[in-house]
Amino acid sequence: MPRRLPLASVGAGVLALALAACGGGTGSDNAGGGSSAGTPAAGASSAGGSAKPTTIKLVAAEYSKDHTAAFWNDFATAYKAKTGNTLDVQVVSWDAIDQTSSTMIQNNNAPDILNLNVYASYAKDGLLYSADDVLSPDVKSDILPAFVKSGTFDGKMYGFPDLSSARAFFYNKDLFTKAGISAPPKTWDEFEADAKKIQALGSGTIGYAMPLGPEEAQGEFSIWAFNNGGDWKSDGKWTINSPANVETLTFMKKLATVDKVTQNNPAKTNRADAFNLFKSGKVGMIVGFSPLAADLDKDGKVNYGVAPMPTKSGEPQTFGVTDYLMAFKKSGNQDAVKAFYDLYYQKDQINTFIKAEGFLPVTTSGLQVFGSDPKLKVYLDTLPNVHLTPTDDPTWDKVKLAVQQNIGAGITGNPKSVLDQLQKTAENGG
């Protein structure tokens, strides 16, 4: 693969030349006029000016084949009409986006805006604009506090949420009826009993689909851990091998190996495969999110219900995920970047995007827009108190990868030693 990197860098070099040429053009322009109010760092904005149009590049993650590119292309048109600037859109699949962004930065050719599920390492490397530089005060105040907190590194906000999702407990109503279960389980004990009943139906029926494969293992474990009073970090310290977490992973191991109520080989099942099993109607319970619901509605095959997660400790916790749009500091792009965010966080832009992709809002005004949809109520109610992974810690960027690669080993091996090892990784700074 590295063979390909330098090749990309050749292309990147050409692009850099082209961009440099653009920059030269704008630099000669009169920088004084038309600059929007409250823009700090005059050094950066003077190079770009705003009288003469700039081109900025967006690298966006592909949430869906149908909607992502369509939205951003429309957005680029609106952006051009409003600001005169050009937005160069590149949509990249989630599989490849780490590679794309890393290669771009490696070749000194970062995009202006990058859409990713982490940001803290980038902020730590000093590559990003903070909210003070590029976010209007009324845009920032509209973002839900939970996401402001998760986007804040070292006292400043660098990770601007593009959308969010909240995980919820999905169950197959038909299988529940068949197994004689009247309501979704509220506690882990009820959950375990229900899973056994469903598994006992036979003919390939699966009690609970548990994806602990590398695709999204940190998500699956988070939900269970949070509902046992556990967490990745608490009070600024890593608590990956806390007693609550060890108990959680031990319980998950029991489900898979003693009760045998999960699908085959949960440690090596990716989330997409688990979703497919649930969509086929073979699975009693699974942790899903709104895009799964959208798929299920489209297929119309599975009669499903959505409920809060079964919990072992008091109130059910909702696990939330948000992705980020971050902005790279480059000379001359500040005004254009700021204009990008001003437009993106307009109610009709951001919420159109989120609605099309089937996710959840990140702003207070978005909550009102989505509140009218009864189907989303179960998620929206929990959104302001949603429990996130510690994305504000750059170490998490590596811990996440280590968790994805290793936590499944807790199902086949010893849960405590797997978590001890992850704790050590985290304490060593990833």
């Binding site: 693969m1 063979r3 990197l5 490696q106 590559l127 085959n264 080989n265 099942t269 080993a409």
Partner: protein
């Protein structure tokens, strides 16, 4: 797999051209005559450069520059974001050599390359024999064998993911229906099945190229040698061992060397079939390198580049050793 590295065949077959003394001895005789004819309008080195320019630019851009970048990256320290933080000295190489999974990865690579190449060559030998015989529908069979070669490796690999799937896979379905097995086999998730499953796909996609190299090799063997052998009363097995195989040796060498390089460098099959397996338990050096850069907890471009340098050296050494053992030059000179 062959379609992935078009530069390799040239690199490997080149020695046959220069080593075949004829071309070399002709040169001195031809050169003066040419020079005499063009004394008036001698091309200056600058003009020559102009003509060579495009080719040189291509070589510099596609071979030399990337190689330089790879080595530079291997000696650099990178942040997880891809930002170059400075020089690293030999630290990246050191880390690769001390990686706890390196032994597993090397062993996987050995098993993968040896089994895929050996099986491919054996099966292709048989297939080539079959394909050179005259029979009804031979053209059809030949096309059928070429198809896996024409399909993209990622598509082939994805198709096999569906074939191997635990719940919906056709292979499990067929085996269960035939009562060969009572419960499905986890071809892709089980630690003992995943490597054989990948090897099967590797062999499947390598056969077309190899078989056709052998078909060409068999067609090049003159008929009179066979007639002579048969007249001396050799059995068919004796003919095959003492006539066909020795005369097929150049084709065998070319096919083996190219396959070793292709299979060693093969990324899509292992990447696609192994994607659900965490860690490095079933990775070869190529996917190991990729994971180091982008997917594993290391996420270190420098370390991955160092692994890349090792990869290039490793395949060079392996191919040289192979050629040495099979005494390539003597045979083809």
């Amino acid at each position: 797999m062959p379609q992935h590295d078009p530069s390799s065949p040239a690199a490997v077959t080149a020695p046959t051209v220069t080593a075949g003394g004829g071309a070399l001895t002709l040169e001195p005789a031809g050169a003066p005559r040419r020079r005499r004819r063009y004394t008036g309008t001698r091309t200056s080195p600058l003009q020559a450069l102009l003509w060579l320019g495009p080719a040189l630019a291509l070589i510099v851009g596609v071979v030399i520059f990337p190689a330089y970048e790879l080595v530079r990256a291997a000696f650099s320290r990178y942040s997880i974001t891809g930002l170059r933080l400075g020089g690293a000295g030999g630290r990246n190489f050191d880390q690769v050599l001390h990686h706890p999974e390196l032994g597993t990865v090397l062993l996987n690579t050995l098993v993968w390359v040896v089994s895929v190449v050996a099986l491919t060559v054996l099966i292709s030998l048989a297939l080539a024999q079959f394909l050179t015989k005259d029979f009804a529908g031979r053209r059809f069979v030949r096309y059928a064998i070429i198809v896996p070669w024409a399909a993209s490796l990622v598509i082939t690999a994805k198709t096999f993911v569906l074939v191997y799937d635990y719940y919906y896979g056709t292979l499990n379905l067929v085996l269960t229906k035939l009562h060969v097995i009572s419960t499905p086999i986890d071809f892709l998730g089980s630690d003992s099945w995943i490597m054989p499953s990948m090897v099967l796909v590797g062999v499947f996609v390598s056969i077309p190229f190899t078989a056709f190299v052998f078909v060409a090799g068999l067609n090049a063997i003159p008929h009179d040698v066979y007639e002579a052998a048969r007249m001396d009363g050799a059995s068919s097995w004796q003919v095959y061992r003492s006539v066909t195989l020795p005369l097929l040796r150049p084709a065998l060498l070319v096919a083996s060397v190219l396959n070793i390089i292709y299979v060693f460098n093969s990324f899509p099959i292992i990447w696609t079939l192994n994607d659900r397996n965490p860690g490095f338990g079933h990775d070869t050096t190529i996917t190991f390198m990729y994971k180091l850069a982008f997917k594993s907890a290391e996420k270190d471009v420098g370390m991955s580049a160092a692994a890349g340098v090792f990869n290039v050296l490793l395949i060079l050494v392996v191919v040289m050793a192979y050629l040495k053992v099979t005494s390539w030059r003597e045979e083809t000179a």
